[in-house]
Symmetry: C2
Subunit: 244 residues, 2 copies
DNA sequence: GCAATATAGTGGCCCATAGCCAATATATTT
DNA sequence: AAATATATTGGCTATGGGCCACTATATTGC
């Protein structure tokens, strides 16, 4: 190394400039808490953008041969403890200007999980759920606001023609709760009868319980959960929004 | 640099191992030629995988601050001369094993363009159109067969619920040709009357010509092209396949 | 106990539209 | 002029979404 210039050294690594690409994975983890769409953010403890809220994620460990999806899954479990949620790749963004440390690229994933209490033993006070609108209003780190909006858009689209929002509920759930979840993620009200027709005819739900005190009044609702083996069918095209 | 070890030097660049990530963009460029779905491949002239066919693409120039989409657009124009086609990001794949030169990531784009003759002045004999099935049967470089299949899947999905296949035809075109394009990209036959109803009611086509010799017999067909200003509506959700 | 109220679930009509297939229109070929 | 080929349209039927009221079953308040 003594005889090399930096440029020569870098060229030996197939890098044709001083800039080295940084590869990271970021996650937009959505859930439904208090009937509202919420997203998990972490407060950055280091520069750059120290103190700002950001999507959870981090650099990809280049030492291990691991798929990007695996990397995302691990980071999801680190933050939430959830193992088998819905996790899908949304988009990748790369440029020289999005991170002051140099050219960087991030692969954005979207996760849908049931509401979980973050195992905030005490030291991890820098991670919390934010209602989506509040999260957007924050001065997020890097281009994470743009990333968050792209994930939100993907979520809205998927909600319109798949049954993915099932994953943001803790089973078992009632059909009314499920409809409220769809409405919140979709951003518009749905018709009760049509919703039930479509959901039940998709044959992905399983009637599990009979009753539900639910704190309250009114006729008890039937309880459902995702039918065993129907995980794949959640992706099937089921149009729920009125008048596409 | 004299006092640094390689590891220290790399750490200064925020790289925590000797492996440096390679960032590339690859394109699955689709068109319809001779009524068949075809894809553009280039024959690699250098190692690794020299002599094998591969998706067009290349490393991202880290010296310039350019969006990934811009990079893809430039590479598309280099190969085909086409400027304003449909171009969308499909997926990103990264791992240590997909390229023998080290950890690498590629961002896969899908392009839909009308059939163009490659300006093969003579030296560029290493680039040609392949019917999709033939391309899949080739021993492609790297993991490009997997990438090609993912792009094909995206194309099939988009064909089922958008009007994107319009872009693989050279305007003006007849409704019959358009239907044949949809059928080829979708992989199944469509009903004539239903197809025309949906396409015309989407209001994205403009009647441009009156007649078409078309070499042949039968009543001349009306000619259409994408209506000015309707480019956005091509993405709107229009279900064409029977019985979703 | 009974009426009022609240929520869950269902019945049933209307209408848009996809599927289907035949009829009509307009060209070339024989 | 008839046969043939392709384009375009007409029209019927069945499916299913939108809509809204009705029934079912619980709690609360008197």
């Amino acid at each position: 190394m003594v005889d090399e210039t930096e440029a020569e050294f870098l060229r030996r690594y197939n890098i044709h400039d001083y800039d080295l690409p940084l590869v990271s994975v970021d996650l937009a983890i959505f859930t439904l808490r208090d009937q509202r769409l919420q997203v998990l953010l972490v407060e950055r403890g280091a520069h750059p953008h120290k103190g700002r809220w950001a999507l959870p994620g981090g650099f990809v460990d280049l030492k291990q041969d691991r798929e990007l999806l695996d990397t995302a899954r691990r980071k999801l479990q680190e933050k939430t403890g959830v193992r088998t949620p819905h996790l899908e790749q949304v988009v990748s963004v790369g440029s020289a200007s999005r991170d002051p440390r140099g050219w960087s690229i991030t692969i954005l994933f979207m996760a849908l999980i049931p509401p979980v209490s973050l195992q905030g033993g005490g030291a991890v006070d820098d991670v919390r759920w934010w209602p989506f609108a509040d999260a957007c209003a924050l001065p997020l780190a890097f281009d994470h606001r743009e990333l968050l909006l792209q994930a939100r858009e993907r979520l809205r689209n998927k909600t319109a023609y798949t049954l993915l929002p099932i994953h943001v509920l803790q089973p078992p759930f009632t059909l009314t709760r499920l409809q409220q979840a769809f409405e919140e993620l979709l951003g518009e009200p749905l018709e009760k009868k049509s919703f039930r027709r479509r959901i039940l005819s998709a044959d992905v739900l399983e009637e599990v319980g009979e009753d539900l005190p639910e704190g309250g009044r009114g006729r008890p609702a039937l309880l459902y959960r995702l039918r065993r083996g129907a995980e794949q069918h959640v992706f099937s095209r089921v149009v729920l929004a009125d008048r596409l």
